[in-house]
Assembly symmetry: C2
Homo-oligomer: 217 residues x 2
Amino acid sequence: MAERRKVNNMLGLAVLSTVIDRPMHPYEMASLMRARGKDRDMRIKWGSLYTVVRNLEKHGFLEVTDSVRDSAHPERTIYRITDTGREELADWIRDLLATPDREQPKFEAALSVCGVLPPDEVTSLLRRRLDLLETEIAEQREALAESRRDVPRLFLVEAEYDLAIREAELAWTRSLLDELVSGTFPDLALWRDWHETGRKPSEIAKLAERGATPAEP
Amino acid sequence: MAERRKVNNMLGLAVLSTVIDRPMHPYEMASLMRARGKDRDMRIKWGSLYTVVRNLEKHGFLEVTDSVRDSAHPERTIYRITDTGREELADWIRDLLATPDREQPKFEAALSVCGVLPPDEVTSLLRRRLDLLETEIAEQREALAESRRDVPRLFLVEAEYDLAIREAELAWTRSLLDELVSGTFPDLALWRDWHETGRKPSEIAKLAERGATPAEP
DNA sequence: CTGCGTATACTCGCATACGAGTATCAGGAT
DNA sequence: ATCCTGATACTCGTATGCGAGTATACGCAG
């Protein structure tokens, strides 16, 4: 199960997998990660870099090798990965790979409250989303094809995964939209006039309590 | 584009969409959300409830109606949604629905560094993931079928979406696993003996720099 | 009627997270 | 020669986020 890591920030994973090559100072890690396109795989906040590195050190995953004062530059502290760090990295990856972690995309949260908006507005918002998704996916697909020419598959799995998921999102959204537009979506009428008249048509509220309390007296 | 919200925590969205029914004190919001299964749609941390509610008030999205001291209980502050709050809620939902937001699942991050582990281990980890995913999805699918009996579609879209995405994840994982097991995955040999012998077979490092610097002199 | 487990209804404080700021230097433009 | 721009290499302060703790009431077993 998704263990409570000493350092939980995903930036920590990126750092560990970067210093594993050779000792480095934080800024160099940052540049390397950027160069390798790591910032496309995880949302990296550069403000957190030094905090995360310090924490990794505090927990014994990194250690200071050197502290070079190189004429210029304030002072660059060079870190090296420790054996514990290597073990932590491997373990972290193992955990992430083996345990599917029900993350909740914001879109899902939005869907769960979309009844707040009138159905026609939701329809047009979804149409907009669909358009954006389509162009983004097209771009991604092309970028991937491009990369495939000179980068081995091994370094493209994340991109392939991402693409597959977004395509599924696209397909799902499209099918929902179809139902809304064609009127085959079941509760449309109900939904619409709960918005045109005042609020909640009595028992809707109750119905929304879906299977929350499995069985009660 | 994903606007910077005054209150960014998704718990805020849940709170707003809950108090829209009627004024309430925080704990009541929490119970209602739980009863409605909101905690299945967004990861709710109860420790944040009071902070988030206070912030919503600070920004004028909620206001205090009453402060009941009901014999028992320390004191329950009752909040009501304001017009600004209603507008914020609608706007927030609009934004979330219309703008696809490239979130980065942890699994993607893990894939991007999975070369750190030897291929055979990755294979067995993925097999484990596949098993877990399969049973979880089966459960979800059944729960959904169950719900459909007495809950209108309108309140199940999130669940349907979630299921669709997970199914896509399953399919993708299965196909990768197949390639690894059958040996059709291209870089297998390379990957394997970079692990058996020491490190990095010279030019792998360079190859990992995928399309980062589009064109340089 | 007394003890005690469990739900209710919070509070507190530390640990991050990260935006925004700062200072220094290299190299080209003027 | 000097100015300016952009990259380099960080630091700091504030705003959360949230785990863990607390205190009170209620039901009910003994």
